[in-house]
């Protein structure tokens, strides 16, 4: 069954081929957990969308937040039964254009909302941890596009194409200078001696919403947090490791296969579990 889709307020499944999202990736997206129809961490998602739109010169009207929430209400109203949790994907593009990179200022944006089934994870990776691998694909250093969730995602597609084994749940990627960045679909954290580490994302990568919440929670709980440029060596020496995103929340990482087939292993640690509990307590998961 295709996801229920709303395009510019109408139930549609398809978009004009002249859309600049298709032609150039000139657009942004957000992937949001809906809990009983309520978007979790909505404000954080909306703020990132707005920040991305400014960076990509996508004009949003003052009432865009109300419009998107009204779109969501229309979509939910079409559902005969509402699942407890589902995935909302919002895509905003610079609208339709002719050939050529220049934008016609008069053209409106296109907004697309899609409802998807929430993925089920019978092996309970949140509790049991996951195995990951190191990808060969490297992320280019592109400060102008770093941090935002734009539609130019070929690097993630290439990284994800490197494995098919179902027991590998995520791939970690380095940048072209060899620094750790993130997972293909998640952000990366690790702890050593009680300090929490995560890569800075001002040169490449996506600043995830859960990452942002965790940085705030760590601060609140007095956990020292270091954001910076770190190499693989730093990760291998960690006491605990986890990845996070808006759908999986936090998955402890218990094993990583490296380029030379060596493996690093970590236990599921107390800081990871504490942060999982904190997200739950805040109603984020």
């Amino acid at each position: 069954m295709p996801p229920t889709t709303l395009i510019n307020g109408l139930l549609e499944q398809s978009l004009p081929v002249a859309d600049r999202g298709l032609a150039y990736g000139h657009g942004l997206f957000e992937t949001i957990t809906l809990q009983q129809g309520q978007p979790i961490a909505w404000q954080a998602h909306f703020n990132r969308l707005k920040a991305g739109a400014e960076r990509l010169f996508i004009p949003l009207t003052d009432n865009i937040e109300q419009i998107l929430l009204a779109d969501l209400a229309i979509l939910l109203a079409k559902q005969s039964t509402q699942p407890e949790r589902q995935v909302l994907k919002i895509t905003v593009t610079r609208g339709c254009g002719g050939r050529g990179y220049a934008v016609d200022a008069g053209v409106s944006i296109n907004r697309i909302l899609q409802l998807n089934a929430f993925p089920s994870y019978p092996d309970q990776p949140s509790a049991n941890g996951v195995a990951v691998r190191l990808c060969q694909t490297r992320l280019a250093i592109a400060p102008q596009l770093a941090g935002i969730k734009h539609l130019n995602r070929l690097e993630q597609v290439l990284a994800r194409s490197e494995w098919s084994a179902p027991d590998i749940r995520e791939g970690l990627v380095l940048d072209t200078e060899g620094y750790l960045v993130e997972g293909t679909m998640s952000n990366l954290f690790w702890c050593r001696d009680g300090v929490l580490y995560t890569p800075q994302l001002d040169r490449c990568g996506v600043k995830g919403i859960i990452r942002e919440q965790l940085i705030r929670l760590a601060k609140q709980q007095g956990i020292q947090l270091e954001e910076g440029l770190f190499t693989l060596g730093s990760l291998c020496q960690a006491d605990e490791v986890f990845v996070c995103n808006s759908i999986i929340a936090i998955w402890p990482v218990i094993q990583c296969t490296l380029a030379d087939q060596r493996q690093s292993r970590w236990p599921i640690g107390p800081i990871t579990q504490c942060l999982q509990a904190s997200l739950s307590a805040e109603g984020i998961y």
Copy 2:
């Protein structure tokens, strides 16, 4: 009037929103001049499309060339009168998918053919030359994606958004290390002391079809050609400069506005004119 569009062999104007070209830019395109319905330099365009498809794991069937040419024949047959020249855009995407970067191997590609009016240039830039400017936007160094014409084109969108003055016909872009790469929509050449120079494009940039033809023609005509990493200084000292692509062929560059508003100027030179004549003589323009 929208361009005449054929999607997977059918007259359609819109594509499912689940297309991976829209979601991630997982696709490729070619922009081709049609001369009396005949695609110019077809084999070169098709070869680049094939090379890009291998790089992006987009499976093309053995008969894809025949299929695309049959699509084109259908489109042309729908035209009541055929313009002498028009622009054919071919887009091939990895097809439709669900959420997530992993590809479902069973999913077919989507192919889109669009006919557009050939742009008119009343000021005859081929003969009179054009003014260009240096863009601030820098191209990221991404060898895995370099050379091919994929759908992740936000860098070009950002570079092109830097100016709106209609007398500036192109913007030149450097990579993040400061080396010259290309124009936003064209490749770049310059000459000094009889030697032709053009940036190497194995770290970023698009290997244009006309660029490829010109490298071949230069070799045939005994013009020494240097492909490499060059800084702006090398361009400023040139005797002649030009940009090229499959629609404009060759435009001499007579002026470039640099970041500090300084301007470099060049005459329209003999090597530029010789290469323009060679392209015409080969029936390429």
